[in-house]
């Protein structure tokens, strides 16, 4: 419990933000505390456009489950839905990372007559027709992810994927003095968020003498990344730093380096407790962009706010300050297991119930 207070404090801040957000002025609805979710577009939705009496039925089409961040994001959203009296039914549908299934999922959700639709697309262009069809029925549509103008929705909340990648790229550029060889461990090929992270990383190292010595897709998966990293290490290819699209893959690489006795190189991670544990124990030089699972509840709150007739900004993004070696002690929770991600909107008793080590 050594480090439980800071995170508990953070959770408390979330709870206060939530309670205060419900009573503040229409154009100032706070979906998450300022440092976690920022306004990107000054344009606002029309007040009262979607106003109707609650409680509401809200549907969310999500790309797929399969890693611990998504599981926690889903748990946090379910908790939010269960504790919000304005939510009558929350339908969460996952497409198993199959674009064709996501199209079908959205059609099925709309058939159920939901009051608001949330879509986190595997790829925005794939679901454009379905989002347009949903908007044509007059229900609010909130998208989660970076559309880059490919699809118009009522509110877009994004995780700032390019910023995520750029943070890691900038960290490695500084650590390597602008030259050297980097291995890039990417997520799932063909997924929009993954490409954005990679683009951000590439932009950060542009104009330097840094080369990408190897580039592999670890599917944001610990086991797959471990095999890939073992192959790369055993191949003897030079490496001065590792850029990773996700923390579980970084954790796998650190363990591979340690198991073969190879000196650790600077690596990029993410705000995951398992990574924090490995980070702390190994002493690796790392940076951790923050991608909060609290974005799930934030998207649900946006849907409720629109249905309550409140006005929201058209676009929000989440790009909190990254964590460095100096921050790690504040955020690592030895009492919680490796599947826990920070910062969380869940109260302490829920954290203990779900993530107790």
């Amino acid at each position: 419990m050594r480090h439980s207070l800071p995170v508990f404090g953070l959770a408390l801040a979330f709870a206060m933000a939530l309670s205060s957000g419900k009573s503040i002025a229409q154009d100032d609805v706070e979906l998450l505390p300022d440092n976690l979710l920022n306004i990107k577009s000054e344009a606002m939705t029309e007040p009262g456009k979607f106003k109707k009496d609650g409680p509401y039925r809200i549907g969310w089409s999500f790309p797929g489950v399969g890693n611990t961040w998504i599981v926690q994001m889903h748990q946090e959203t379910e908790y939010e839905a269960a504790n919000n009296p304005q939510v009558k039914e929350f339908i969460f549908s996952e497409a198993n990372w199959q674009p064709a299934k996501q199209v079908a999922d959205i059609e099925d959700i709309l058939t159920k007559g939901v009051d608001a639709l949330i879509v986190a697309p595997i790829a925005f262009p794939m679901v454009k027709k379905q989002i347009e069809a949903a908007m044509a029925t007059g229900i609010p549509v909130i998208t989660f992810g970076v559309s880059n103008g490919a699809v118009e929705s009522d509110v877009e909340i994004m995780g700032a994927g390019e910023y995520f990648g750029e943070v890691g790229g900038t960290f490695l550029k500084e650590k390597l003095g602008g030259k050297g060889t980097i291995w890039a461990i990417r997520g799932v090929a063909g997924v929009g968020e993954e490409q954005l992270r990679y683009d951000g990383f590439r932009r950060a190292i542009e104009g330097t003498e840094i080369k990408i010595g190897a580039e592999v897709f670890g599917d944001w998966n610990y086991a797959k990344a471990k095999g890939l990293c073992e192959n790369l290490v055993l191949s003897g290819q030079p490496v001065d730093g590792i850029w990773s699209s996700g923390a579980e893959m970084t954790r796998a690489c650190i363990e591979v380096f340690q198991s073969v006795g190879k000196p650790l190189v600077p690596m990029t991670g993410e705000g995951n407790n398992g990574f924090f544990k490995t980070w702390t124990e190994s002493g690796v030089e790392a940076v951790s962009p923050v991608f909060t699972p609290g974005l799930g509840p934030a998207v649900l709150r946006a849907a409720v706010a629109l249905l309550e007739g409140k006005s929201l900004h058209r676009t929000y993004f989440s790009a909190p300050e990254p964590l460095t070696n100096a921050d790690i002690d504040k955020y690592f929770r030895p009492d919680l297991n490796d599947a826990f991600w920070v910062p969380s909107t869940l109260p302490e008793e829920e954290l203990q119930r779900l993530f107790k080590r």
Binding site: F62, V65, H74, E89, I91, F92, S93, E94, N96, W97, Q98, P99, A100, K101, V103, A104, D105, E107, D108, I109, T111, K112, G113, I122, A123, F124, P125, M126, V127, K128, K129, A150, A189, G190, G192, Q195
Partner: protein, 310 residues
């Protein structure tokens, strides 16, 4: 001799479970999900299963010949990538040519070089998926309007997907039930050695099966790309195993010689209803895959294995 209604019935693979499963699901969902039996949802189901049904019909003829084709998903994805990446006037011929090439490679590998169909088509699937990422690394692109119109129905109120399904069903039904090619295929699948000893050529029909299977994946890719109006390099990722699931649910024996078009239609409807039903009933995402797996396991376990020609 293969002939008569009894023989045709036994080689269709359709049993009580094949028919009872979709029927009972239909009845169950009609009561359990108020929005199930609505025009909008029936249209949804039709749109959702069309591409899978077309791909599964191709998988059916490969399965009857005693093989399996896991490369259909990658072929479908490649078609999607081609449609948004090249000049609109050549995309359909190019996709068909690519489909033919993939089918020929699979067929020659299996029939001429004796590579196991699983190994052969898995290798092709991996290569074609890699090629697809080279053509189109991320989702996007614009589908030519002429192709987009292909997914729409010229008859008002009738989903375009129904016409695609009808055309594919008619083609494969005629091929299997009303042509000498179909008759030879059942003989080869039941026992290729017996068929060869009786003067049936084995190599060319097997290669033809794989070519037709790849072309069915191309057709499904054209429909799916037109339906969503954009390209995606992973859009077909699930179709390899899903099409095998569909034919298994439809009573098709993967050992060859048994299977029919009506069985595949029933299998596609079963899987489509399972997916649609779980969405409408709000089944937890963590339970869905397990539920689908149980459904498949139950359906397969309750079907009696039959042997023909040995």
């Amino acid at each position: 001799m293969i002939g008569g209604s009894a023989s045709r019935s036994s080689r269709s693979g359709i049993g009580i479970i094949t028919v009872a499963l979709p029927l009972s699901m239909f009845v169950l969902l009609s009561f359990a999900a108020p929005s199930f039996f609505t025009g909008q949802n029936i249209g949804n189901i039709s749109n959702q299963i069309a591409a899978l049904l077309i791909t599964s019909l191709g998988q059916l003829i490969v399965a009857i010949s005693g093989g399996v084709d896991l490369s259909v998903g990658s072929t479908l994805s490649l078609t999607s990538a081609i449609i948004v990446s090249f000049d609109p006037s050549i995309v359909i011929p190019l996709a068909l040519f690519a489909g033919c090439c993939i089918g020929v490679v699979n067929g020659v590998g299996v029939a001429v070089f004796g590579v196991h169909p699983l190994v052969m088509t898995l290798a092709t699937a991996t290569f074609v998926q890699g090629l697809t990422f080279l053509v189109l690394p991320t989702p996007g692109g614009v589908v030519p309007p002429a192709i987009e119109r292909l997914a729409e129905s010229p008859i008002s109120g009738l989903p375009g997907s129904l016409l695609w399904c009808a055309a594919a069903i008619l083609f494969f039904w005629l091929l299997l039930s009303r042509s000498s090619f179909g008759l030879r295929l059942y003989a080869i699948g039941a026992n290729p050695r017996n068929a060869a000893l009786n003067g049936v050529k084995v190599v060319a029909p097997i290669i033809t099966c794989y070519v037709l299977c790849s072309l069915s994946a191309v057709a499904a890719g054209v429909f799916l790309t037109a339906r969503v109006s954009t390209g995606d390099p992973t859009v077909g990722a699930s179709f390899g195993l899903d099409s095998v699931t569909v034919i298994a649910l439809g009573g098709v024996q993967l050992s060859g010689g048994i299977g029919s078009v009506p069985g595949v239609i029933l299998g596609a409807i079963t899987l489509g209803l399972a997916t649609n039903g779980m969405n409408l009933l709000g089944v937890s995402p963590f339970l869905r895959m397990a539920a689908t797996g149980l459904l498949l396991l139950g359906a397969i376990s309750l079907q009696r294995r039959k042997t023909i020609g040995v």
